[in-house]
């Protein structure tokens, strides 16, 4: 085995949304923990170079220069890839991958990962989600239920800081909430219309990871009340939203038990044939290309769903020629994502005597209402949706005008406001299938000698039917609310741009049909845990990060128990 300085009590691969939680839990429990990150360090506030820049200080006022957009078509399709946050995203040409079928892989290789730029929506799952595969006969049964995760949802919510209302909606369990911002007049109007017309459809406040009122724990973390700047993707000088950089990682560091190793590209997990378990991790230094090995009795893989698949597939041994824990041959398969293609917008000419004032960091949310209690449509599962209604200042366009006339128009703050603009994005569950998979490319390798990931993931007929249903249902709901100029659209975007990639290392009861058990341990190598998106058996409709956090905290605490009992 390696020398002492390379030996730890726990190794966590990946410092983002879930890895930060694993590191925090281990360090708090007194484990000497090595946190591996393939990118550079990003220290809270200090390494947010654009966080306090004013709009007019950006050379291109936010726009991405042509050359960058042309050279990086995938990342340029991401809504948050703008001049103010470009530096947190992986450029296509820095880390190429293979697309047997088109897949927009959005990545952030740095400490904190994509938790810096995420959309901060945090909705719990319910048993209507966990029981989906078993009831509807797809994928495999989840080995866990809501009750297993519920206390851990509470645990992470209290620490991260989640704003929300107790809505009492059975499809979207309530949590530990900080105060909610207001819904707007028209959001409340829509809520009334929907509840009058559909007994099972609920327009509620979209819960989000923002500190609307700090609790002592948040102050102890050095974080302050969210000021609704809505510039979160730059990193927040107040720590107003949850990211790993402001919250979990500094907390882990404060214990003195954390060793963070940046620029560490994980090559593979080392498997010891004699001991019958994993003993450590082999890394390649991103800069020097030098290989190093680190050792620990427990290894958490939190590299981000796709890179977690990559690492396990690349961890081959005599015992596991097809990848670690992959006797079933299913590693990389049953890969899924969220269907975010469809959107609907409209105007509302009512409530013109009202407007909003100030700023908030969320909107409204409509939990899944299709096929909840029983199958009732010609497609499986359903979709949740966003709902936002806002009203902007008047002034209008300067079309046909120039000179003083144009200037006066631009400077006229008394111009009447326009109508309300409303819109909803469809967030659809997709069905994991064996034919949707990621694999190692046979020939191509990156400059660190890692095989490139090859994607074969696509929409199916179920997704198309769901889009059609969303458009029909929302057109009807919008019409009932008196909205006009209703426009439904399908972006036809490739899978991946939803940035909710999931699966490949799914959980399940049976080693023959799944990779992980109910505690996120590889069935066949139980001291290796996977608690990022790769572990997902099905996708539900909810934004998954909160669930990854809860799963990670639960699994890490279980791992600590097993270590204590010498069972790992």
């Amino acid at each position: 085995m390696g020398d002492n300085k390379n030996t730890f009590d726990a190794i966590v691969i990946g410092s983002g949304m879930s890895g930060g939680w694993a590191a925090k839990e281990f360090c708090e429990k007194g484990l000497k923990t090595l946190l591996l990150e393939r990118g550079r360090d990003v220290k809270h506030i200090k390494d947010y170079p654009t966080t306090s820049m004013l709009p007019w200080e950006f050379k291109h006022r936010g726009q991405v220069p042509y050359e960058i957009a042309k050279d990086n078509p995938v990342i340029s399709r991401c809504y948050a890839f703008k001049e103010d946050a470009m530096h947190f995203f992986v450029k296509d040409n820095e880390h190429p991958y293979v697309q047997e079928k088109p897949f927009d892989w959005i990545r952030g290789y740095q400490v904190g990962g994509k938790s810096i730029m995420w959309a901060r929506q945090t909705q719990r799952w319910s048993d209507f989600d966990f029981e989906g595969p078993a009831r509807d006969g797809f994928a495999v049964d989840w080995p866990i239920r809501y009750k297993d995760l519920a206390p851990w949802y509470s645990y992470v919510e209290k620490f991260a800081g989640i704003s929300g209302n107790k809505d009492g909606v059975e499809t979207l369990p309530d949590g530990e909430f900080l105060p909610a911002w207001d819904l707007t007049c028209v959001e409340n109007h829509f809520k009334d219309i929907v509840s009058k017309n559909y007994k099972d459809r609920h327009v509620i406040y979209a819960r989000c990871a923002h500190i609307t009122k700090p609790e002592p724990i948040h102050i102890e973390q050095g974080r302050a009340q969210c000021q609704a700047r809505n510039l979160c993707q730059r990193g927040c000088p107040f720590g107003g939203y949850f990211n790993a950089n402001s919250t979990t990682i500094p907390w882990a560091q404060k214990t003195g038990n954390l060793t963070m190793r940046t620029h560490a590209v994980v090559h593979s997990i080392i498997y010891d044939e004699v001991k019958g378990k994993a003993t450590g991790v082999r890394i390649i230094d991103a800069i020097t290309k030098e290989a190093t090995e680190y050792f620990a009795p427990v290894i958490f893989v939190n590299a981000g769903a796709i890179n977690t698949n990559l690492i396990l597939l690349n961890s081959t041994s005599k015992r596991f020629p097809n990848g670690l824990g992959n006797d079933s041959g299913l590693l990389g398969k049953y890969f899924a994502f969220h269907n975010y293609r469809a959107r609907i917008t409209a105007k509302y000419e009512g409530m013109l005597d009202s407007k909003t004032e100030g700023s908030r960091a969320t909107g409204a949310y409509i939990p899944r209402f299709r096929n909840v209690h029983k199958q009732e449509t010609d497609f499986l599962r359903g979709y949740a949706t966003t709902f936002n209604a806002n009203r902007f200042g008047g002034g209008g366009s300067g079309q046909g005008l120039f000179g003083e006339e144009l200037k006066n128009k631009l400077m006229d703050t008394s111009a009447p406001m326009g109508p309300w603009n409303v819109g909803s994005t469809c967030m659809g569950e997709t069905i994991p299938k064996e034919t949707n998979y990621v694999k190692l490319d046979k020939d191509k390798k990156d400059e660190w000698g890692m095989p490139l990931i090859n994607f074969s993931v696509a929409y199916d007929d179920n997704d198309e039917k769901m889009i059609k249903d969303f458009m029909e249902q929302y057109t009807e709901m919008y019409e009932k609310a008196g909205f006009t100029d209703i426009k439904a659209s399908d972006s036809k975007q490739a899978p991946g741009l939803d940035i909710h990639e999931m699966g490949g290392v799914r959980m399940g009861h049976d080693p023959k049909t799944s990779l992980l058990n109910g505690w996120h341990q590889l069935h066949e190598c139980p001291n290796v845990f996977v608690t990022d998106g790769a572990c997902m058996t099905s996708t539900s409709t909810q934004n998954p990060s909160l669930t990854y956090m809860a799963m990670t905290a639960r699994a890490a605490n279980h791992a600590v128990e097993l270590l204590k009992k010498n069972e790992l």
Binding site: C185, C226, Q227, A228, G358, G398, G403
Partner: protein, 177 residues
């Protein structure tokens, strides 16, 4: 000045003199551009055009105060495709030609009245080549953006707050104007 220095200066001056003529006629723009090339007179024309679009008034700054023409050129140089960059520079020439045709004078030498009348026909799309219209449209769009995203406009007119604070109100009455 001693003789030695005087001779050296003569040498320097004459060496300089050999270089000066090419400089004088080169008519270079003052702003560094990577992809498009713009002459000094074109830059001057652009500055006047942006000022005609958003003029300085008694109470408030105009395009020249913001160096809006530099913003226009930066955006075209960095953010437009090579095809659009080419159309922009060609459109700029056609714009100048349209001005000459109308007033027998360059845009810079036109009176304020003449400039206004030219822009009037641009807005009405009267008898103006398409690429000149496209050029004008691009300049106008970026001039407006330069103005509406400026510190003065955002803070004085739109009361922009980078830190709005936590007190969002979802429904307040619109005050009667």
């Amino acid at each position: 000045m001693n003789r030695r220095t005087a001779i050296r200066n003569v040498v320097i001056i004459s060496a300089g003199a050999r270089l000066i003529p090419s400089c004088v006629h080169e008519d270079k723009s003052t702003i560094a551009l990577k992809n498009i090339s713009v002459t000094g007179s074109q830059e001057q024309m652009l500055a006047e055009l942006t000022e005609t679009i958003i003029p300085k008034t008694k109470n408030f700054i105009g395009a020249k105060d913001l160096k809006a023409h530099e913003f226009v050129l930066t955006m075209v140089d960095d953010c437009a495709s090579p095809e659009d960059q080419q159309k922009f520079t060609e459109g700029m020439k056609l714009f100048e030609e349209a001005c000459k045709k109308k007033w027998n004078s360059s845009f810079v030498k036109c009176s304020a009245q003449q400039r206004n009348e030219l822009l009037q026909s641009m807005e009405k799309k009267q008898d103006i080549p398409e690429d000149a219209l496209k050029f004008y449209g691009t300049v106008k769009r970026y001039t407006v953006q330069s103005f509406t995203s400026s510190k003065d406009y955002m803070t004085d007119i739109r009361k922009y707050k980078m830190v709005p604070g936590p007190n969002f109100k979802g429904c307040v009455p619109v005050k009667n104007a």
